[in-house]
Subunit: 382 residues, 2 copies
Amino acid sequence: MIPKTPLSLSDIRLATVYKLLGDEELARAKSETICIEQTIEFPADLIADDDIRAKIFGQIESFERVDESHFEAKISYAVESSGFELTQLLNLIFGNSSIKPGIRVERLELPESLLQAFKGPRFGRDELRNYLGVEKRPLLCTALKPMGLSAKSLANYAYQFALGGIDMIKDDHGLADQSFSPFEERVELCAAAVAKANAETGFKSIYIPNITAPANQMLEKAHHAKNTGAGGLMIAPGLAGYDIMRQIAADDEIALPILAHPALQGSYVLNPDSGISHHALFGQFARLAGADATIFPNHGGRFSFSKNECQSIVDGTEVEMTHLKPIFPAPGGGMSLDRLEEMSEFYGNEVIYLIGGDLHRHGDDLAENSRRFRKIVNNSKV
Amino acid sequence: MIPKTPLSLSDIRLATVYKLLGDEELARAKSETICIEQTIEFPADLIADDDIRAKIFGQIESFERVDESHFEAKISYAVESSGFELTQLLNLIFGNSSIKPGIRVERLELPESLLQAFKGPRFGRDELRNYLGVEKRPLLCTALKPMGLSAKSLANYAYQFALGGIDMIKDDHGLADQSFSPFEERVELCAAAVAKANAETGFKSIYIPNITAPANQMLEKAHHAKNTGAGGLMIAPGLAGYDIMRQIAADDEIALPILAHPALQGSYVLNPDSGISHHALFGQFARLAGADATIFPNHGGRFSFSKNECQSIVDGTEVEMTHLKPIFPAPGGGMSLDRLEEMSEFYGNEVIYLIGGDLHRHGDDLAENSRRFRKIVNNSKV
């Protein structure tokens, strides 16, 4: 037996809503298992009737049927068990239970005393609009590609996109620090190209390099990008980890908007009965980690997300999380100009349209194609 | 059209074997899509007959039927597209394709010119045996828990485990830097407790703190642990990112064995038709990132891995990867003393047995329970 343990903890708890696959008996057993697995990970019968049992154990706050074969359990944990750190918070929410089938994280309910540990998005929707000088319309974004082009060629594209009035010109997520387009050279040339176009147009385009990189290079790359004139940063938390994104977002010297890219994260959402919901992963987690916009594949493109899943991401970008600002959904993944009207009906104004390859599809004058993109958005009815 | 692009790249390629769900036509289409999605992510018809097409595009090296509804495609990429970085390598292997259903990374075939960029496991199996002074038998590992105990209580357990001859005494993965057991205090007390026991027994137990933490604290925690007498480090790459593990494993001042913990990684392996195979994730990825042992839930415990999946992990810990040393599989997850004989038949000697809660199940004398663990392993027939 573990000796009785007195603990001086607050009564404040954080909660996670899990979707559980199974009949009522199985789902209830799963919810009870989660209470142990996510906390003491220890035979519960060896724990005395003490503070560990009363406070550290997960507690089932509610248990409801969702449909014939699914239940939702809201389980709470002592806020202190998170250590007020993002890494341990993710662990507390889903560390070991991620390895058990039929358990899915649906959404997080996090108290203010926990959220105070996180700055969250530095810009969020309103400040990003101020920063870019765009009052109401959707924001436009494109990607520099294909992989294999030189920094000079990519910078030439960046110049044309900026001339045409694209707000955000980002690296494709496959551009890292390869010999054909080294990071520092690319950032220098692309930032200069966008600045040159801005000087000509009076418009504010920003260049957003991908700073996803080895752990010991990310801060350095972020600072370098900032000092070289980048207007934002892209990070793939599935490759680099969520917490380095949080650290960079919170850095007052860097102070640039952050785009989160979903690379390597698909496995979390693809199976509807396990993993993490689109809402939590691309919405709530991204905001906890300081993203100002969350990139995801739009429905009807070359990926498989449904309309409902995309809507749940939008909900996750704006669901109340005390001081964590709402952020922009940035649907992409094979989007094209001819889908803008339909997307406009679905997303309204609070969206970043990410159109990459399709801007190359309408002739070689990328500035002209970009103007067309801009014009369609300006004329959209929302 | 993208203008013709000459590229000075080697002819060396890395390869990934993907398992594809579908009939032959669908699987072939998927393999062709991967070649584009993982590289240029751009309309292929806009790429000239040039070096981007010849070298940057993924290339299908082989395509074979596995069973009625699955095919395996080996797809190769220019080694330079990886940037010789772990983050971009993971991205190149599976970044966007992780978001598409019916595609699973089965195994990696990485050329020496790429692997030279990675030190891999510092110890691996043989050096970890030397370090611990254990010639042939399986290694014994246990975890300090439950969450909620004070550093002092955990250190008391560590002392007893070490007295009883457990080789590796690790933090439970839920122990981070919480108020009830602050990291620095815990490391100090537990390392001292294990050293005290070692002085009494003449045996070498090591204490392995969990250093999974916010990005800006991990290196500091690793150094602090080393300087305070920790004998190894545990990191959960699913929480902290793979590359920080690589960086810490490669740090010559830290120079401690690394245990990889699978927290938050279950979603990669649970769906047999998407994600990443057990073999690649817990074997090959762990070695690329410098782990000396890879923790995973054994079959027949409270998790769902099958015997075949556990075997595939073992294979991944030792499959040839040029200079990347074979590492220890460390099956755990609700293991008990009464399963050791059966586990011995399955795993042989090249294994770390991870038994946590069950050591508390046989009376309150943990040193005696640990001796029993040791004795069973010593007497096992392998």
